[in-house]
Amino acid sequence: MGILKGAVTRLLKLLAVVLVVSFLTFSLTKLLPGDPVVVLLGPQYSNVELREAVQEDLGLNRPFLVQYGQYLGNAVQGDLGRSYTSSFKTTTLLKQKLPATIELMLLAQLFSFVLAVPLAMLSAFRSNSRTDKAITTASFGLIALPGYAFAVFLVYFFALRFNFFPAIGFRPLSDGIGPNLRSIALPLAVLVAGLTAVYTRLLRSDLISTLQEDFILMARSKGLPTWHILLRHAFRPSSFSLITVFGIQFGTLIGGAVILEQFFVLPGIGSLAIESILKRDYLVVQGVVLVIAISFVLVNFLIDILYSILDPRVRRTGA
């Protein structure tokens, strides 16, 4: 029941976060210069009557808070409004663009987690060995490597020199798994390299301190095999900061994939964000931010629950 109460409080807090984010986005798009009606009407903007009619129609001349309330009310019912520039609904656009982004993000997270855990264990268990130094150095380098710079290398070597992968473009899953995976291989590699480096370093340093704990010595003195000690005794207590960062990366990845999506011409949510920002297509921008904030909040809610499963001490305090 402690868990349940904690979960509810937490959920309410996260809901508040989403609300504040949506409010801020809404106000920002209002505050920043650039009137969507200009975009809509083009040269006809100077026609005052027409302009006011459109503003009336879009509800743009009502008080700010009323506008926000309406937006929120509709949003709760799954209506995020229509794009000013195309006649599409925001939700339609989002549905179109989300699959590529989500696929990329999920695969990147999966691969980097699966790679980072054994690498970190290897590194931490034999800390200061050659293997450890190689792993630490490589991850240090990869962290300093900007994604787009890395993308340039990869495209040059794998797409242009050797033609292993297409340099740009996206094939949806409906085209078959093979072509789909090939089309996202390079951006995926960029993401995985960076994330693996971050996770490896994080887990390695926590593992190293855990491995010095008395309970590890105790486990060793029981004569348990090394893999058992690493997996059962050391990993779990060392995984907390890894998991926190892992959760945060979900948010960062959805929003941060912009650059890779642009470079590799992927129809993702990041590209959608940029396009609509440049076109002053506020409702779409708001929709994108809202989706990102909600997914971030949800993932982190799940991470919190995972936290309390992993650490019984958290469970008791109901944090």
Binding site: K13, V17, V18, V20, V21, L24, L28, L32, P33, N128, S139, F140, L142, I143, A144, L145, P146, G147, Y148, A149, V152, F153, V155, Y156, L160, V190, L191, A193, G194, A197, V198, R201, L202, S205, I208, S209, Q212, S241, V245, I248, G251, T252, L253, G255, G256, A257, V258, I259, L260, Q262, G270, A273, I274, I277, V288, V289, I292, A293, F296, V297
Partner: protein
């Protein structure tokens, strides 16, 4: 604790990757302040770049925005006559542009470091010292901020406010402030409980005096350590904007150069135009991170403090 460098492109400014020296004490602990070979190379690289950037107008290099018609074609390879690193697709000298591009990185690095540290540091210091409502507000805004896609915010700011360097610096600084604030708050909290602060309190020192004399000097170190990491991120973030073509094409920057190199790379199979600025940026961020790492181990700033 969280991680600073987003592999996607570094705009999420959340706390940093652990230093190599963390955890077990390494066998031969470096002397405090010792840079090591890597550290020296990094320092020399950064000093050279900064000097080049500062002195660019007076250096005997080509005009970075002048097409060299004497060379047969644009995008000529490195080591062609008169162009150490070749020319780009406008026929501009890449070497000169790398040096000039360093100016933007330098301005961004310094600007973000100063604004982020001063504004974020102060907010965190006050929140951590006076606790109460200001702290609650700070922590709540950090929560909100984390859920807010930073890069999109940055793009929006630049897109709406105009893409001049000042707005870029302000935008990146804005995005970095919550992280600075959080770190400064955390250090303030720990130091407020230390004996010397309690002693000062007991001795009747004023709040202001305690804050400025006892706490601030101790908070500065972790803040600076974090600042060094942010410098790397800021450089990458500015590059991202330029790479997306959102900053002014008049401004010479490494990100813009990589962006300009995209076309030759993807269409004509010419790599050096994009590769040279990409490598330069990589080495620069690497050097900054390395120095940050050395800094943290020399001053024994715990990663957990970040």
């Amino acid at each position: 604790m969280t991680d600073l460098v987003s592999p996607t492109d570094g705009v999420a400014i959340t706390p940093p990757p652990p230093s190599t020296e963390s955890g077990r004490k390494s066998k031969k602990p470096k002397k405090p302040g010792a840079l090591g070979v890597g550290g020296w190379v990094a320092a020399i690289w950064l000093i050279t770049l900064s000097a080049g950037a500062l002195l660019a107008p007076w250096l005997p290099i080509d005009d970075p925005a002048k097409t060299d018609f004497s060379v047969a074609k644009n995008n000529s390879s490195p080591f062609t006559a008169g162009h150490l690193l070749g020319t780009d697709n406008n026929g501009y000298d890449i070497f000169a542009r790398i040096i000039w591009g360093g100016r933007v990185s330098l301005v961004v690095a310094a600007g973000v470091l100063i604004i982020g540290m001063v504004v974020g540091g102060t907010i965190g210091l006050l929140a951590g010292f006076f606790r109460g409502k200001s702290e609650a507000v700070l922590m709540a805004s950090v929560d909100v901020f984390l859920a807010f896609p930073a890069l999109i915010l940055l793009i929006a700011i630049v897109a709406f406010m105009g893409a001049d360097l000042l707005n870029v610096v302000l935008g990146i600084s804005l995005v970095s402030i919550p992280a600075f604030a959080r770190i400064s708050r955390a250090s303030t909290l720990t130091y407020s409980q230390r004996e010397f602060v309690l002693a000062a309190r007991a001795a009747g020192a004023s709040q202001k005096r305690i804050l400025v004399r006892e706490i601030l000097p101790n908070v500065i170190l972790p803040l600076l350590a974090f600042g060094l990491l942010v410098v790397g991120i800021a450089i990458v973030a500015e590059g991202s904007l330029a790479f997306l073509g959102l900053t002014s094409t008049e401004t010479i920057s490494w990100g813009g150069m990589i962006n300009g190199g995209k076309k030759p790379l993807q269409q004509e199979n010419i790599a050096h135009t994009a590769m040279i600025p990409a490598v330069t940026m990589f080495l620069t961020v690497l050097a900054v991170n390395l120095l940050g790492d050395r800094f943290r181990s020399a001053f024994d700033v715990k990663d957990s403090a970040l």
